[in-house]
């Protein structure tokens, strides 16, 4: 099993979620996060003075999937979250040792 962590632009969240549901993904966790990369922060103006805000709002999606679903999910996220402009985000793929469903105590792929 793998955990796919995708950092995306917040306005793309709905589209990505719908596309993932469509390919059969049954659950995910979403967090509002802040970050920076090549896309630098933006500026805000208060009473005529410009302030540079270093961190930009992003959304982090976490999906744990079976190994054979990884490519499909990554492809879907890339396709739907892409605008082609800097700051579209990153996808990190991490190995997952085990999964436990708290309600039943089931483990492994059954618990996803």
């Amino acid at each position: 099993m793998k955990k796919i962590e995708a950092i995306i632009k917040p306005f793309k969240l709905d589209e990505v979620k719908d596309a993932l549901v469509e390919i059969g993904i049954g659950g995910m966790t979403v967090t509002e996060v802040k970050g920076f990369g090549q896309q630098k922060g933006h500026t805000e103006i208060y009473r005529g003075t410009e302030y540079v805000i270093d961190f930009l709002p992003k959304v982090k999606i976490e999906v744990v999937v079976k190994d054979e679903d990884v490519e499909k999910v990554v492809e879907t996220i890339v396709k739907t979250a892409q605008t082609g402009r800097v700051g579209d985000g990153k996808i990190f793929i991490l190995p997952v040792e085990d999964v436990v469903r708290i309600r039943t105590g089931e483990r492994g792929e059954k618990a996803i």
Binding site: E44, I45, Y46, R47, G48, T49, E50, Y51, I53
Partner: protein, 424 residues
């Protein structure tokens, strides 16, 4: 505020004769002044507290609110003890009133024969002015001052600085004898507080992070709206009657606030590129400040021009002057209250319309009035600057003014008050 001098004379005479007993209660005036007093209370608690609180950082919003609330509470006590007497007691050399004349309300009774409402209401109405003036100063000090030092400052300032200035202008002191026009407190309240804020910013020094990035713009807007609403009590109440002057003051107040909101917004749009809500809210306050000395003296065109001129001047004072000189007037007490106050005081002398308030200004041929206004401004600025500096330097040498750097960075809410504004 006019008529207070004769009130004092009459109160003095009432010891001999029966002048006060003959006066008849005017229920209209009484009802209005009861309401107006409550409106001005609402300006500080919670109007100003929320306006300042929203502008400040999330880690010190509670400290900022506490500064306004405690200023109001403390000044209530100093005012009934000695403040009112210093402002409105029997004149001593044109400088101050007899400080113990009305000690805790002693001798205040009956109907004010000039206004037809209970003399006690003068004590109440004027209290709200002393309180908000002191609270206004806190906007410049936020984010770094020890709370204990603020309490001592508010106590001393509300006795030493505010009441004498109120006496000069309204209590029969030398500036009112000199003919300075200040309808509702442009000089006494706003220039006074603005200069105290500037001096305080210089003595306290800069915060480690001096950026003005509001933690809640909706709170700023709410605070500005409450201030606008309360300002009707402040300005129209300063007619001290439910009459045509009060109606002039009310419409002029709202006209100047509206004009200034737009003027600030356009100035900011042209200069910085965006029309911001913080800007519109700040423009409202600048307009309200600027019309304060003029509210019962100018006509509607005068009110439009005062709002339109004062707001861009305040805007550029905040956007250009402050960065250039580097003083950390955190929430722009000097930039808005000081600058718009000065502009308003001078323009009162320009636009005063004799058919509104009885006194002609420059454009009605009375060139001298502008000069008279300037004298009032300069005298107030010098007095406020010197005495505020003296109070703060004395506190600095004894109890200290600033929290430690660690407490400043952590935030005053947890360091000074042991609580947080937002718990998740």
């Amino acid at each position: 505020m006019r008529g207070v001098l004769s009130l004092i004379i009459l109160l003095g005479l009432s010891g001999l004769g029966l002048a006060a007993e003959e006066a008849k209660l005017d229920t209209g005036n009484t009802a209005w002044m009861l309401v107006a007093s409550a409106l001005v209370v609402f300006m500080t608690v919670p109007g100003l507290a929320l306006f300042y609180g929203g502008l400040d950082k999330a880690k010190s919003i509670l400290n900022t609110i506490a500064m306004s609330f405690t200023a109001f509470a403390l000044v209530t006590l100093t005012w009934i003890a000695v403040g009112y007497s210093i402002a409105y007691g029997d004149d001593i050399l044109g400088f101050m009133g007899n400080p113990f004349q009305y000690f805790f309300g002693k001798g205040i009774s009956g109907i004010n024969p000039d206004t037809g409402y209970p003399a006690l209401l003068d004590l109440m109405f004027q209290l709200t002015f002393a309180a908000i003036t002191t609270a206004l100063i806190s906007g410049s000090f936020v984010g770094r001052m020890k709370f204990s030092a603020w309490l001592l400052f508010a106590l001393l300032w509300s006795v030493i600085v505010y009441p004498p200035v109120a006496h000069w202008v309204w209590g029969g002191g030398f500036l009112s004898q000199h003919g300075a026009l200040d309808f509702a407190g442009g000089t006494v309240v706003h220039i006074n507080a603005g200069v105290a804020g500037l001096v305080g910013a210089l003595i306290l020094g800069r915060r480690k992070d001096a950026a003005l990035i509001p933690n809640s713009v909706p709170l700023v807007a709410l605070g500005a709206g409450i201030l606008w609403f309360g300002w009707f009590g402040f300005n129209a109440g300063s007619a001290l009657a439910a009459n045509e002057t009060a109606a002039w003051a009310m419409i002029n107040t709202t006209v100047a606030a509206s004009t200034a909101a737009l003027a600030w917004m356009f100035a900011e749009w042209l200069h910085a590129g965006k029309p911001t809500v913080v800007g519109i809210s700040s423009g409202i306050i600048a307009g309200l400040v600027a019309i304060t000395p003029a509210a019962g003296f100018v006509n509607l065109v005068g009110a439009v021009l005062i709002g339109a001129i004062a707001a861009p001047i305040a805007y550029f004072a905040v956007a250009l002057l402050k960065p250039k000189f580097g003083y950390d007037d955190a929430l722009d007490v000097f930039g808005i209250h000081g600058m718009a106050g000065i502009v308003g005081a001078v323009l009162t002398g320009v636009f005063a319309d004799p058919s509104v308030g009885g006194t002609p200004g420059l454009i009605y041929g009375n060139v001298k009035q502008v000069f008279v206004q300037l004298v009032g401004v300069v005298v107030t600025m010098v007095y406020s600057a010197v005495l505020t500096a003296a109070i703060l330097l004395a506190l600095k040498a004894t109890v200290g003014l600033r929290v430690s750097e660690e407490e400043e960075v952590e935030g005053l809410d947890s360091a000074e008050h042991g609580e947080k504004a937002y718990n998740f």
